[in-house]
Each structure stands twice: as structure tokens, then as C-alpha cells.
């Protein structure tokens, strides 16, 4: 009964703290796109959602600062134990993480208020701005903190920022990644017989037709070779050149519809592998939800 689906293959090409590149094959665009969309807007993270301002004599107005606070990436590994503001809440669950900030400028020079000035929630010290280092133990190799506002003498900013769980669909501040893209793998095939009819100069010019340099000319074998398939940008330059040479069949370039190259760039909020795994889990949860909502089966049909 379930023969109409294929099980995808996956190969990781590159994996760093904030970047992952993998190949997803033997599946369809609908699946690849569902995965991409879930990674982008349905993987929950933590971000500042409510700001209570006690004192603000800086040049920026309250709303402006509240907006800037929302966009500060907070390390969200704790999100898996957290509940959203509209979920059913049990005794042990928590929905809010309270960060506070109080800076008064006393020097004659301009003072920066940054993400390092936050005082963390002592109950949830695992939620902190990306690159955070306590101002009392600033090390030299620490990442540069995120600037919130600049102050002059006697200006003051005192506030309480409440961070909550949320998803990118509700507000872009909860998006767990910088970008997620997938690309169809290009398939380039050269008509050897036709290519052999061309002379050297033309072959060299043909190779240079596209700035992507997917093709190269091998001066030893005197052949045009496909060297960087993935560098091809679907710019249509090789096909155009082939047309101009009156040999439209010289080269065929198609998009593979079952091989995809995914590129996920993280922001430091969650590790990229966590984003990918959570995305699959979110998708599974959606399906489970839908299945449960369906009326129960009347007779037992052959499922396997």
C-alpha cells in the first residue's frame, strides 16, 4: 500500500558550529521544500518578547529599544524543556525567562549598552545572548557583543526583558537560522560527437561562455570536460553559446528533481544539527496530529 513513497538518502558534506551542507537524494521537491520551510519558520527558539521599561533617558524611544532587544539572538538549547505562552502548562513547566538590564552612564565619553550588560535569569542561566560574556570577567578573545544603544553622560536605561518560546511564523526574531536553501543538483551532459567537430579555439571560448566555470578545457586531451557541476548557476550561457554555434544539442543541462543540496546557516541560537533534527520532529508531530484528527478506520486495511 505504501509503495508510492521513496526513502531518501542523506550525506553530510560539511558540518561546523554554524553551517551545514548536506545532500538529500532519492526524494521529491515537496519533501525537500517541506523540510526547508519547517527549518525556517517552525523550529522554536527563545527571543525577548515582552519588555518592561522602568527608566529610559537614552536617545532611542522605548519601542525602538524593545524591538532591538527582540532581535538579539539568545542561546535556545533550553527551548526543548520550555513551553510556549499558549501551551498547556504543568507545575514544572516554565514559559518566561527574565533578563534585566540597568546601565547608567557616568563617564564623559560615549558609553555602549550591549548584550553583555544583561543580567541573566538566575533560574535559567542557560539562556543568554549569543557571544555573551559577563562584563566582570571580560576576556580578550570574547566575541564582540551586540550593541543596543549608545549613551552620553547621565543617561540611564533600566528594563526587564521577558524572553519566550516562539516560532518564525509569528515573528522573524524566532527564526533559528540565517538562511536555509536547497538547490537542485545540475546535470550537465556534453555531446562528445558534436563537440569533436569544433576546433580548439571555439572549445576554449565555449568553456569561458559562462562565468560559473562549470566546464573546463583540457589542453592535453583537447576535450571539454565538466569539472565543477555544482558551480553551474543555471544562467543559460552555455546553451546560448551552443545556439550561436548552430549546435543546440551540443550541451544539455537539466535540473535533477530528486537530488538536492541543502545549505543551512545557523545564527548560534541552536546548533544546525539540532535545527535539522527538530524540523523533522516538528513535521512528524504535524502528521501525528492530523492522523489523530481523522475519523477512526472502519475496517482494518492492509497497512505496513
Amino acid at each position: 500500500m505504501l509503495s508510492n513513497r521513496r526513502l531518501p538518502d542523506l550525506k553530510i558534506r560539511d558540518l561546523r558550529d554554524d553551517y551545514c551542507e548536506f545532500e538529500l537524494s532519492n526524494t521529491d521537491v515537496s519533501m525537500a521544500n517541506a523540510l526547508r520551510r519547517v527549518m525556517l519558520v517552525e523550529v522554536p527558539t527563545i527571543a525577548v518578547d515582552l519588555v518592561e521599561i522602568e527608566q529610559n533617558t537614552t536617545v532611542l524611544n522605548d519601542e525602538f529599544i524593545a524591538h532591538r532587544l527582540g532581535l538579539i539572538p539568545l542561546v535556545s538549547t533550553a527551548v526543548h524543556h520550555m513551553k510556549g505562552p499558549f501551551d498547556d502548562i504543568g507545575e514544572k513547566d516554565f514559559t518566561d525567562v527574565e533578563l534585566s538590564l540597568h546601565v547608567l552612564c557616568t563617564s564623559d565619553d560615549t558609553q555602549d549598552v550591549t548584550s553583555n550588560d544583561f543580567i541573566l535569569d538566575h533560574q535559567h542561566p542557560e539562556v543568554y545572548p549569543v557571544g555573551y560574556s559577563d562584563s566582570r570577567m571580560q576576556s580578550e578573545d570574547a566575541e564582540r557583543p551586540i550593541l543596543i544603544v549608545k549613551m552620553r553622560k547621565n543617561q540611564e536605561l533600566k528594563l526587564k526583558a521577558i524572553a519566550r518560546k516562539g516560532i518564525g511564523k509569528d515573528h522573524a526574531k524566532w527564526i533559528p537560522v540565517a538562511t536555509v536553501t536547497f538547490q537542485h543538483k545540475p546535470q550537465i551532459s556534453i555531446n562528445r560527437a558534436l563537440m569533436d567537430t569544433l576546433d580548439e579555439k571555439v572549445k576554449e571560448a565555449f568553456v569561458d561562455a559562462s562565468p560559473s566555470h562549470a566546464l573546463s578545457y583540457n589542453s592535453v586531451t583537447k576535450q571539454v570536460e565538466v569539472t565543477e557541476t555544482e558551480a553551474y548557476m543555471y544562467d543559460g550561457e552555455y546553451e546560448k553559446m551552443a545556439q550561436e554555434l548552430h549546435h543546440p544539442d551540443l550541451i544539455t543541462i537539466t535540473q535533477s528533481d530528486n537530488e538536492f543540496i541543502f545549505r543551512v546557516e545557523g545564527t548560534g541560537v541552536l546548533s544546525v544539527e539540532d535545527v535539522i533534527i527538530t524540523a523533522v520532529d516538528v513535521l512528524t508531530a504535524k502528521l501525528r496530529n492530523l492522523q489523530q484528527a481523522l475519523p477512526p478506520p472502519e475496517q482494518n486495511e492492509g497497512e505496513n
Partner: protein
């Protein structure tokens, strides 16, 4: 979710709080099912979070059953993808050595 209209072989499902992410994936799988004669979805209004999914079958199975099977397939796909990724991740970590933090 509500089953808005339909006989056994044809039904329209209104999926609340869903969008193209799920609807398109389901549509694709249902389209591959030989017992499904028609499947399509629409989002009547962009600010209303609802997807209308229409399924008509050739009679061998009910529309509800077709949707259930599609869900099952997609769930298996997700499960497979999760394990393949975890496997690939562990393998990658091994080959890269311990110079990277997990």
C-alpha cells in the same frame, strides 16, 4: 481538522493551522497513489490559517483512508530522514575526529 463535505470516495478536509508545508507534501504523495483520482489543495485566504484539501478516489478506498495512508507514508519518510541524518552526523563526527565541538 474538519471534514467539510463529502461522500466516502470524495471529501474536502479543512486543515487548520497548516499551510503549504504540509499540504503540498500530502498532495504530492496522494497524487502518486493510483487509487486517488483527484487531489488538490487551496488556501482560500492568506490571512486565514486554513488549507482545504480535496481528495477523490476511484472507489477502492475512502478519501479518509487515502489521507491516512499519505500521513503514514510521510511519517515513515520523516522517521527515515531523522535516522539517516543522525547516522550521517555520527559518521561525520567520527571521520572528522574530536577537533570539533558537537
Amino acid at each position: 481538522m474538519t471534514v467539510a463535505t463529502g461522500a466516502d470516495t470524495g471529501a474536502t478536509f479543512a486543515l487548520e493551522d497548516e499551510d503549504h508545508t504540509l499540504a503540498n507534501a500530502l498532495r504530492f504523495l496522494l497524487n502518486k497513489n493510483p487509487h486517488v483520482s483527484f487531489v488538490g489543495y487551496s488556501i482560500p485566504h492568506p490571512s486565514e490559517k486554513v488549507v482545504n484539501l480535496r481528495i477523490q478516489t476511484t472507489g477502492e478506498l475512502t478519501a479518509v483512508e487515502a489521507l491516512r495512508q499519505a500521513c503514514q507514508s510521510l511519517k515513515q519518510l520523516c522517521g527515515h530522514m531523522r535516522s539517516t541524518f543522525t547516522e550521517a552526523y555520527e559518521q561525520y563526527e567520527q571521520t572528522q575526529g574530536s577537533d570539533e565541538s558537537p
